[in-house]
């Protein structure tokens, strides 16, 4: 059989697409941007999930964990024998201040014991460098890889640490990662500061001695058997551990590292759903205007094809295929760009999430979904035009279309139109005569503007969040945590530290809050009345006083508890004496960072039956005495944690800039592509439609500039009409996204960002103007004679 080449119709198709290559490119680029985000977000999500699952399985990540005051080793047998428990590891854990030469401020670390013999049965480590500690040498430790990297620590280096008030020198023998510390942040911090907080694994014996826990443990991690019912196991373990000061057995949802990762995955899912949808819509819009033009110019060809005997379906399919070709090019661009973005993202993630290895691998399903979405969007965009081609009767198609009937403008616009010159009147009449076409252009431009508004709102929101958190809510320079709650007199000790200008006490109790059958583990923060440093944030974003009686709940917490002002909630301490009490909700407040419960300091201390005791202090420092302060701090055994706000702010800003910032830059670039694509398509179509009128104007003696005015005037008028719509749409989208991105760690305040609106409008108008200028050259090249000799 003779091989069949391309059919004549397909050759025509290829030439048609080539002739429309700039349109095709605009569509493909917009589709490509959307699909790139899709492939990146879905692929990244899949990669993270897979990597996490593999890592958890390989290193036996705990399903359950519990902290206790002190439980005897003999309980291990009972724990292991509990039905549903596959493996259990008991250990000793604590916090320590470190005195490092590399940094002036004291760093701190979480200490975790390693079993006396063998490797941990649960939460095993992956050694990146060095070796395991020799049980015979109690000073040998392994430190977390990220911490070591940030401080340039090597195996063989030593660390000075204050363990439970005793100074010790530790020798690093290895660097490692662990599945429970994929994300590492100091207690109470939301962002990792790898040079300020790390994990240290050391021999059990040495830690037991430091913490007076010989023959006992204060933490247990458990792996569930396959098919075990987690809630039943938690109940059983809680019953065994209850008498030993257990804070309650909890699952992965309350393990900080896993929770952060899960939040990240959720945000990736949001991103995968939101942005691509937006771009697909705009791509459909671009296909719609391009195909509308194709069908209009191909009218007589459609008639011919049908007259030759091509069926309706064959004709429809012929035109649909060109739209699908646009889509295929877009999907190809999107797939390639998505993989490139994903790889870059994986690099960024590795700074935050410490996997032994994180590769971006998008699944075939991801690509299949992207291509399907591209074809659907293009098909949707082409639908109306293709349908028109299918419906066109051959005899009618061979006739030229009837000239568009225009009408006088009636109503309030009439006076306005009457005062215009003829050229401006052409613009106004065309817009009024073809409202749907004008409407789609306005909508397309408005969508591009809206995306830019969103892109410009994010940084403003971040700034506001950081501003409120660090300048209104937390004005202290440093927050010091005591080993245990101490008498108020401890505040004087803090105040006497060199360089402390002013100090203010606080209390923080880990608790379980219960209401309406719901249970949430959180912290209750005690804030003194009249606080000047650490203050509560009300609904307006301003500082407010703690309640005289009762408890304030952060909005996210109130929602999780389904509690409203006036409701009574139950509060149970998860450590210490495990006091159980009831308190009335006095109000709901809006902290932007964290979602705790808040009480007046002394009221909280009374509620916890420790009147007058505080957990730590916020302090304002004299910058001239930082060095002396830090030196003394490292020698103060009662202080177990020191959080420096400027450092926290710096790390938070860095993290926003690197994560959100880069991403935002990419979105802004994509929004620009969208604005450019829409503007260019609209301009090309307008030129094609006005070609004859513009040629007539030129023949009549109008200059190029005057003829261009009709083209550019129409585009600019539509773009200006799009401005308010784009701003309002962008505002709604930004509000909705802020809601979506809300977690129990942050609530993003929506704020108006007028410079952002101005930028979005100005940028889009500039794109339209630039596109109009590019297309305007078409006016210069108009072949007046050819255009005028042709029939309409």
């Amino acid at each position: 059989m003779r091989p069949r080449g391309l059919s004549s119709l397909d050759k025509k198709l290829l030439r048609d697409v080539w002739r429309m290559r700039l349109h095709a490119l605009a569509v493909a680029l917009v589709l490509g941007c959307g699909l790139a985000v899709f492939v990146m977000a879905v692929g990244m999500r899949g990669s993270l999930e897979r990597t996490r699952a593999d890592y958890y399985a390989e290193r036996r990540m705990a399903d359950l964990a519990v902290s206790l005051v002190r439980a005897p080793d003999r309980l291990i047998g009972r724990l292991a024998a509990t039905p549903g428990v596959a493996a259990v590891e008991t250990r000793i854990a604590g916090l320590a201040l470190l005195d490092l030469d590399q940094i002036e401020e004291p760093a701190s670390a979480r200490l975790v014991s390693l079993p006396a013999r063998g490797r941990p049965a649960v939460n095993d480590l992956t050694l990146a460098r060095g070796r395991w500690p020799d049980p015979a040498h109690v000073e040998e430790v392994i430190v977390s890889h990220a911490f070591a990297t940030a401080l340039e620590l090597q195996p063989g280096d030593t660390l000075r640490a204050v363990l439970h008030g005793r100074r010790q020198t530790l020798r690093i023998v290895g660097l490692a990662n662990a599945p429970e510390f994929i994300f590492v942040a100091a207690p109470g911090e939301l962002f990792p500061q790898p040079e300020r907080f790390g994990v240290i694994w050391m021999g059990r014996e040495a830690l037991a001695r430091a913490y007076d826990l010989d023959g006992a443990f204060n933490e247990a991690v458990v792996r569930l058997a396959r098919g075990a019912h987690s809630a039943a196991v938690i109940d059983a373990l809680d019953e065994i551990l209850e008498p030993y000061g257990s804070g309650g057995v909890y699952g992965r949802d309350r393990m900080v590292s896993d929770r952060f990762l899960s939040e990240e995955l959720r945000q990736l899912a949001t991103m995968a759903a939101f942005l691509p949808t937006f771009f697909l819509l705009v791509a459909a819009f671009l296909v719609n205007i391009a195909m509308g033009r194709v069908i209009a110019t191909e009218r007589s060809n459609i008639g011919l094809l049908k007259a030759f005997g091509y069926g309706d379906v064959a004709v429809g399919w012929h035109y649909a295929k060109s739209a699908l070709m646009f889509a295929a090019i877009g999907a190809l661009i999107g797939s390639l760009a998505g993989v490139a973005l994903g790889r870059w993202m994986a690099d960024v993630y590795q700074d935050y999430y410490h996997f032994p290895r994180l590769d971006f691998v998008a699944s075939p399903f991801t690509f299949a979904a992207a291509w399907t979405a591209a074809f659907l969007a293009a098909g949707l965009g082409a639908l109306v035009s293709v349908w028109r081609a299918v419906r066109l009767a051959p005899a009618a198609a061979l006739q030229p279309p009837r000239p568009a009937a225009f009408q006088r403008i009636e109503g309030p616009l009439a006076d306005f139109a009457a005062r215009l010159d003829a050229k401006s009147r052409i613009i106004v009449r065309r817009i009024v005569r073809f409202p749907r076409r004008a409407g789609t252009t306005v909508l397309g431009v408005a969508l591009a503007m809206a995306l830019l508004v969103v892109a410009r709102t994010f940084p403003a929101v971040m700034d506001r969040l950081l501003d409120v958190h660090f300048n209104v809510a937390n004005r202290q320079d440093v927050t010091l945590s005591f080993i245990e709650a101490r008498e108020a007199g401890a505040l004087h000790d803090v105040a006497r530290l060199p360089g402390v200008v002013y100090a203010e006490p606080f209390r923080a109790d880990g608790v379980v809050l219960r209401h309406a059958g719901r249970e949430v583990q959180e912290a209750v923060i005690g804030v003194p009345a009249g606080a000047r440093l650490n203050r509560l944030i009300g609904q307006s974003g301003g500082a407010i006083e703690p309640p005289a009686a009762g408890v304030f709940l952060a909005r996210a917490l109130a929602e999780r508890l389904a509690a409203a002002p006036g409701d009574d909630i139950e509060i149970e301490q998860t450590s210490g004496r495990r006091v159980r009490a009831r308190a009335r909700v006095a109000g709901v407040i809006d902290p932007m960072v964290g979602s705790s419960a808040y009480m007046e300091l002394s009221a909280l201390a009374r509620l916890m039956r420790e009147p007058g005791r505080v957990s730590g202090a916020h302090a304002m420092l004299d910058p001239a005495h930082h060095r002396a302060f830090n030196r003394r701090l490292k020698e103060t055994p009662a202080i177990v944690g020191a959080s420096f706000l400027t450092l926290a702010e710096r790390s938070m800003r860095r993290s926003f800039e690197e994560g959100v910032g880069y991403m935002n830059l990419i979105y802004a670039a994509f929004a620009a592509v969208m604005a450019g694509g829409v503007a260019f398509s609209a301009a090309r179509i307008t030129l094609a439609e006005q070609e004859r009128d513009l040629a007539t104007l030129r023949v009549l003696g109008f200059t190029r500039l005057e003829a261009s005015y009709v083209l550019m005037g129409e585009l600019m008028a539509l773009a200006l009409a799009a401005a308010p719509i784009g701003c309002i749409l962008g505002m709604w989208l930004a509000m909705w996204l802020m809601e979506l991105f809300q977690t129990d760690m942050y609530s993003f305040p929506f704020i108006h960002n007028p410079p952002g609106y101005a930028f979005a409008v100005a940028f889009t108008l500039a794109c339209v103007l630039a596109a109009a200028f590019v297309v305007r050259r078409g006016v210069d090249r108009l072949d007046m004679v050819a255009v005028l000799k042709a029939r309409d």
Binding site: R402, P403, A404, A405, F406, Q407, R408, D421, A422, K423, R425, I426, R429, R430, R433, R692, D693, A695, T696, L697, R698, V699, L700, G701, F702, T703, R704, E706, M784, V785, L788, K789, A790, R791, D792
Partner: protein
């Protein structure tokens, strides 16, 4: 060389007191290059006198429309010279050609080329807005007998009416020359005659030079002079002592 002779005879017809509007010498227009090139005009010499009504007659492809486009500043000659009132048109750049069209030329095409979004009156005003000493739109439309339908849009007018609006638009600027390319090509006899009557009346009233391109030998009977084209050359130039009135034409 009959063409030369007849042309020389026409030359003699130039009336005293009438100056030359266009003077063409060795005018050539070649489209394309090499073997595929087409000589649309091939050495045309012609003088067009102020105020005359000249018909350019010939089959399609004979070069008559090309000549009209060059005279109107829509196209450029490949060789030769065109003088407009003694000034070389062929030397003008694009900007100057635009100004030339704006100030001196009125065009009428076979397919009217009205702006569909403007009414009859506004289509005429469009030109009046950029002309130095225009007729009012009302006057111009009155001249072509369309005063009553001034506020109609092109889609609401018949073909003949649309062409008369095009005539009104062309004459509103009081052009030095009216260039009409197959002005009746898309019209039936009756409506075509009305358009031609309008052209004749304008020519007589304002003495604006009128060039009509046509392939219709009947229409040619109304020209004061008739230039016959074939293969890019002038084959003959006839002087019509008694031009026919449009109402006498039949096609």
């Amino acid at each position: 060389m009959t063409a030369r002779k007849t042309q020389a005879r026409g030359w003699a017809m130039v009336r005293v007191g009438m100056s030359t509007l266009f003077s063409l010498r060795g005018l050539a227009k070649i489209y394309g290059e090499g073997e595929a090139s087409v000589r649309a005009l091939d050495g045309v010499d012609l003088d067009i006198v102020e105020g005359e009504l000249m018909v350019l007659l010939g089959p399609s492809g004979s070069g008559k429309s090309t000549l009209l486009n060059i005279l109107g500043g829509l196209d450029r000659a490949s060789a030769g010279e065109v003088l407009f009132r003694g000034a070389p048109l062929t030397a003008l750049d694009d900007r100057a050609l635009t100004r030339f069209r704006r100030e001196h030329v009125g065009f009428i095409f076979q397919f009217y080329n009205l702006i569909p979004s403007l009414t009859a009156r506004e289509n005429v005003e469009l030109v009046a807005e950029i002309a130095a000493d225009p007729l009012s739109a009302e006057e111009a439309l009155d001249l072509v007998g369309l005063k009553a339908r001034m506020d109609h849009f092109p889609a609401q007018l018949s073909g003949g009416e649309q062409q008369r609006v095009a005539v009104a638009r062309a004459l509103a600027k009081r052009p030095a020359v009216l260039l009409c390319d197959e002005p009746t090509g898309a019209l039936d006899l009756q409506t075509g005659v009305r358009v031609l009557e309008a052209l004749v009346e304008i020519n007589q009233r304002y003495r604006s030079t009128t060039l009509i391109v046509t392939h219709n030998t009947d229409v040619a009977r109304m020209g004061e002079r008739v230039v016959r084209f074939r293969d890019g050359r002038i084959r003959s130039l006839e002087v019509n002592e008694k031009p026919a009135a449009p109402s006498e034409l039949v096609w």
